[in-house]
Symmetry: D3
Subunit: 244 residues, 6 copies
């Protein structure tokens, strides 16, 4: 089974770490291909970045179909382009926010999301509502570290994240933590050991979700909404995206 | 006051009709500029089309800022790129689904949306939930006429739409109709006369909403989430979208 | 176009200020008539006051119909008598809480309402739920200044309101402020300048909403619920309200 | 214990039947006083009627306080003036829609309301949402018989109501019926025998609810919102309602 | 009328106090029988305890049917076995959490529940959502006193409960208190006097609710879901529970 | 990895088929142990059956802990005893309704559940609400075949189920089917081929969910609510369940 993990930003080092986190949980026989698109933002920290990450993401889905991918993970916590990707892909497509929030509800009564910049909290809350998770998502907390500084030695990111996690347990009455950025994926195990509660990384959760759906031979319904997009002319810079 | 209306698809004839519908309700002193983007799909009938309409839309917002636009209307019933546009624009930005649904709640107890293809119903329901309108949106009905055939003489679109409207009144217990496509804007008045109930066209509703917000000197809050996007490098085909 | 603004309390000085706030945002060609009823409470600070403001309000609607009013604003943040007024009026009727809450959602992620007395918070929350705005209304805060003291020089009202607004931004994670009393209408612009976020006054918002609906030729649906009330005998003190 | 039941319309024959239905379920030692106000509509079939029934209702509450009433029932399915009445009354006040909907949830999975005219359905749905009963209220059905014809021999009301009840069981998947008008109170037992499911009459339910609250020495909280209304001048026709 | 009150734990002293609280509010002619099951946990402080209290509870319902009970109260704030009991019983069955939460909404704008151990908060919130009471239940607070220590002289339980109640009024904006354990039933009146707000004890509330339903001749609907359970073989330790 | 699948009813042939369905999707290295309890009902078709299946289920969890199980599946669509099982088990516990509903949301816009007897619809709807899936669960349909007749040759179960599935696609606007009984697990693949839409079997979905959580080293949070139950004496028939 080939699962293609698309980090919708163009920062290769982050893509590499994401791939490692996915491989660490994949079953024997599951091949992980982690990629970044050929176009788009270096990191995703605004609605603007998110919207502009989608063309490159869709190009990778289209390429994945030719490469024989069995399923896809969208590895950005805003789950950009998820509905569009489901129209293009033959196999299942899962976003990391979606997978992480669902997984968290199997593990406790309520979760808090720890995100990067405060300005992304609105999107996380929107997604929680969209997925039916509003009852379980008790807070979205920001550590105010930009995405690309998360793994810089001097950023203090890990300490700031742990501090927000502690507040989540004490003030939000949460009993599960969800890491709100693909760039935090490698921190989950350690933070869980520190705090003694489950810490869900969306990259791992989405990888296992896609793998499970493929193993069950379940793919996106093509009954109406998620059928392949109708043929259409595209103009200008995006003319290569025309559907024939 | 200059209001820029962006039809996110690239079909000029439709843009022209949209502009006329907006001008018909604008106040004296309000100038309407209706445009299509330089890139993207000829019509929007899938999540894929919608996602790929956003770069061209954002380019037009960015250009509008240099042209001195006071506010913007996004003239597609999926409200594509709305959050991203709000980060870019100095003045208010309103989508036609958003404006139409809000307006409908001032006019009756519940509304039904009449859309084009059945596959777009999911998006309309999502938006209703997102805007807090789920209680009022009693159904989303499709006439199954493609967007670009709506004004073709032989399409029978008008009759099919009226038929769904009648069912909306009788079966959905709705008392207001919302037209679910910018391409239907010119039908609102006539259908309202035929049925004797209010029929809301989102192009007119959004134009008046933006005009009202500008007149009240209200603009999108830049406190956190909708502040301008942080500076960022963009790669490849989309490198021109970099924020400096 | 004639818009009649009904301040449901009987304090003329407040009615006058409300009229000025409405005129400040009205389009050229829109005539504003601001009135108080001939009967009822001097201010509205309880469910009791609110209920008893309705007969006088309805009398003004009935008179407005004979005067040729094109639409109506109910200028009290409890939106008293709104559904009944919609049955009587030929043109649209909009309440200031309703208009302000809807307008706020076009401007940011979430709003806090700043009201007068704490005892009115329940009504504001009820209305937010009723209008589908519960997701967006993050808090209702009281400055504990009675309605008729709001514009008294020594009341300190302005400072107390600004202080609650600051807490709304910091503690409620709101990015938009809604002023929860018609008596605060003249403070909106100044508080917005002080805080740097949009501050919505319901009188202006409702005036523009009614004006917009009239311009679009949209009026309350008379299909079932909001049809004119059936003929009925009324007894005693209220016998003049009989519907023939 | 004295429970005062206020039929907010001025039709004495209906008040009398309401009083009998209440007495039929009252405990030994509970005295029922059923009254109509001195002013207001002959029946309540619109938002207009409902709003104008409130002054007379409040006058009866105020009189009840002097008469030593221990609690109150508002015997109209729109629960008019409920919040205002709670501010005035020392003892508990319960509306018949409120009591009937709550009682229905103890008896099955979901209920349908059978109301008089179709135009009152919106109010019933509003109340269901307001009381947290939206999940349980599966439909509101109208028999289209005006309130004052319900007990006319030739109206066929009973048959029309039973027919809607049958549809409620078969089409709405309801297992409990709620009668949506005080004028139907005397039909509950017979319809229940006919259909073999519980049929809840709000007059009986509210009477027992008030009696229970009084027996438990529970009264409306005066902590903030439902404290007595602040002193206030009232003008014109309503000057007698001034609070001193 | 015979109402059987089943304390689902096996601690007889607590059952006795529960019976006294029920008798204190019962109408003349209502006989109260308070029992504990022959099997199960000494107190209920976990989901495990709650699940295992149900067989003994159902045995008591089955015995009650033979004894001629007219209705039943389940006297544990987790409302264990409520749906199953409704299938077995001919008369109404009401849980104390259910009755208390419903009663609280007749008395104010919002309530806080005061429970024993923090680990039971999740269940109380679940029930509030299940009963449609989520809007009204503003918080669930724990005094962290185990159930069986509530009436121990040195436990300080009363003071800890009162302290949480005060915080509920000040921090949760609640105006009504709900006691979240049958073991607190005897404290309601005194705490209400201390705080000056209504304090609802579920034992009293459920007793009056059952008594009211019986007086109105209302019993659980046997239309589908709550019909008697189908005949079935039961194996092993539970073979006596077979339905024939 | 050892996953223990507990069919909470005592019918061994059904347990065997459940085990096969789980093994068909398990990863290499995952060992499946499918068991029925030593006590309880032969099938689960009422709230009564469900409640009485829990003691035997918990006994199997307790035994599983001694056997070294890494995680558990509760293989009845009512998810009986789920919260209690989570307190007892060291590893994750997932119910088949829970897993199936979550999986369905990754595959389309909305799902219908096909259950056995109509009387179980209420429980399925309750669970959908409890898991945040109410928006996605568009209907619960019953084929009215008892659980133990599902695999009887002459029952016509397969045809009745397919017929309800077709109605789900056409009338409910669902694009995904969820099979609402563990006894239908072996039908999923064939029905999916017949209808051309994804058909989710909860046994497979829950097995993969538990396997995924174990692979990610995620277990139920023991922070407060789901910590092991406190020590407690148990009386009578259930004395063996005492926690020490």
């Amino acid at each position: 089974m080939l699962i293609k993990i698309i980090n919708p930003n163009t920062t290769a080092s982050m893509t590499e770490r994401i791939g490692e986190c996915a491989r660490a949980v994949a079953a024997a026989g599951t091949q992980i291909s982690a990629v970044s698109p050929s176009m788009g933002p270096a990191s995703i920290e605004s609605h603007y970045d998110e919207a502009l990450s989608v063309p490159g993401l869709l190009e990778e889905i289209e390429r994945g179909e030719r490469e024989g991918a069995d399923g896809y993970v969208i590895a950005c916590f805003g789950d950009p382009g998820l509905d569009a990707a489901r129209e293009l892909a033959g196999g299942p497509v899962v976003g990391i926010a979606e997978a992480a929030m669902h997984a968290a509800t199997f593990l406790g009564r309520g979760f808090s999301v720890i995100t990067t910049l405060g300005r992304t909290r609105g999107r996380a809350r929107d997604l929680a509502a969209h997925y039916g998770m509003a009852r379980f998502c008790r807070n979205v907390r920001a550590c105010e570290v930009p995405v690309l500084e998360l793994d810089e030695p001097g950023s203090g990111a890990r300490e700031l994240i742990v501090q927000e996690c502690r507040l989540a347990l004490l003030e939000d009455q949460s009993d599960v933590i969800v890491l709100g950025c693909a760039g935090m994926a490698d921190l989950a195990a350690e933070i869980s050991r520190t705090l003694g509660v489950p810490v869900v990384d969306g990259v791992a959760a989405a990888t296992k979700t896609v793998e499970s759906l493929v193993m069950m031979k379940l793919r996106t319904s093509a009954w109406h909404e998620f059928a392949p997009p109708p043929a259409k002319e595209y103009l200008g810079l995006l003319s290569e995206f025309a559907v024939s």
